[in-house]
């Protein structure tokens, strides 16, 4: 592995370890999975293959960040906007075509 790629992989590993600290199933669980995932690919030699895995790692980073955000957003929404969501779902249900159609029948 060339030196820049090696650095890139280590940075990715560090970033994922850092993200894993808040993982809902626990940091230890996440770290085990992370380690085995990296070890599984340790014998890759072809640059394209390695790049593919790095891209996958970046994608996983993004997914985890998105998951944390959605968890937080939902918690906030549940705590502070519960009534409003119920109302909006109610009004949405009332405004849908099938609801109007069925009420006419």
């Amino acid at each position: 592995m060339s030196a820049p790629t090696r650095q890139r992989v280590i940075a990715l590993y560090k970033q994922l370890t850092y993200l894993g600290r808040e993982y809902p199933a626990g940091a230890d669980y996440f770290h085990q999975k992370l380690k085995s995932a990296f070890l599984k690919n340790k014998d890759l030699t072809h640059p394209d293959e390695i790049q593919k895995r790095i891209d996958l790692g970046d994608y996983v980073c993004k997914e985890i960040e998105a998951m944390y955000h959605i968890n937080k957003y939902r918690a906030m929404k549940k705590r502070y906007y519960e009534d409003a969501t119920e109302e909006s779902i109610q009004s949405k249900l009332e405004n849908t075509d099938w609801a109007n159609g069925s009420s006419k029948k």
């Binding site: 940075a11 560090k14 970033q15 850092y18 993200l19 944390y68 955000h69 937080k72 906030m76 929404k77």
Partner: protein, 256 residues
């Protein structure tokens, strides 16, 4: 558009995912050995400041983002998070005293007088005391216009148009700068500070101020009498038969 200076207030609160416990004396929430993080609404505020900065950079303008936090020494962790997200520098007003919204508003006014920002962004409320007062009080103390519960912000030359979330809809207001902005949940998606940025944030300037230096009276005006947990939900019961159910509804629940 030219140069803007944006002050962002960040509060260190008990993390949203932590199960809150009332302390043994029933006077406050247990905060020792509990995970803390930046108030989610302040994260949204920080993100908004960064978005404004990025938008200005495209039109050859600049913005300086100053994160400010009032509280004990550990508030610096929250400021480092803000710096890692993209704030330029931070101000920590250190005190171990209990701070109520009025005290924080007064401290922020003192910081505003020092730094002369064009805009102050705050979260609409903190998720620990849920006061929803600091932004409004600060606007009152400074005699600045305020746009609270913002769900959309558009910046123009020395003015901004803000869409606010109000009961049963949205309201669009326009205000001149300087002004106070408080953020609502739907304003933006806060970015997650990356590891390299957290490392870089350690080198960003963090100024420390004391309450005495700012000459602010932070004496609490409100006394907390009691803090109690919500009543525990009682377990359900399995009924044997329909008669049993009717009997229980009549005699125990008294709904029939």
């Amino acid at each position: 558009m030219s140069n803007l200076r944006i002050l962002v207030a960040c509060k260190r609160v008990v993390d949203y995912a932590v199960k809150i416990r009332v302390n043994a004396a029933g006077t406050a929430v247990e905060t020792a050995n509990v995970k803390h993080s930046m108030n989610p609404f302040d994260e949204i505020g920080t993100e908004q400041a960064i978005l404004i900065k990025e938008a200005l950079a495209k039109s050859k303008g600049t913005a300086e983002i100053i994160a400010v936090s009032c509280g004990p020494n550990k508030s610096q962790e929250t400021l480092r998070t803000a710096l890692a997200m993209g704030a330029d520098r931070a101000i920590h007003v250190e005190t171990d005293e209990e701070l109520q919204p009025l005290a924080v508003a007064k401290l922020l006014r003192a910081v505003v007088d020092k730094e002369k920002p064009d805009m102050v962004i705050l979260g609409k409320q903190a998720i620990d005391d849920d006061s929803n007062q600091t932004g409004q009080m600060l606007a009152g103390l400074l005699n600045w216009p305020q746009a609270t519960f913002a769900s959309k912000v558009e910046l123009a030359e020395k003015a901004m148009t803000v869409t606010r979330e109000v009961d049963g809809g949205v309201e669009t207001v326009k205000t001149a700068l300087p002004a106070i902005l408080t953020t609502d949940l739907r304003l933006n998606v806060p970015r997650y500070a990356s590891l390299p940025n957290i490392m870089k944030a350690k080198k960003k300037p963090l100024a420390k101020l004391t309450v005495a230096e700012l000459g602010v009276d932070i004496k609490p005006r409100i006394e907390t009498l009691k803090v109690a947990e919500p009543p525990k939900r009682q377990g359900g019961k399995i009924v044997e038969s329909v008669d049993d159910l009717v009997d229980k509804l009549k005699n125990e629940a008294k709904v029939l």
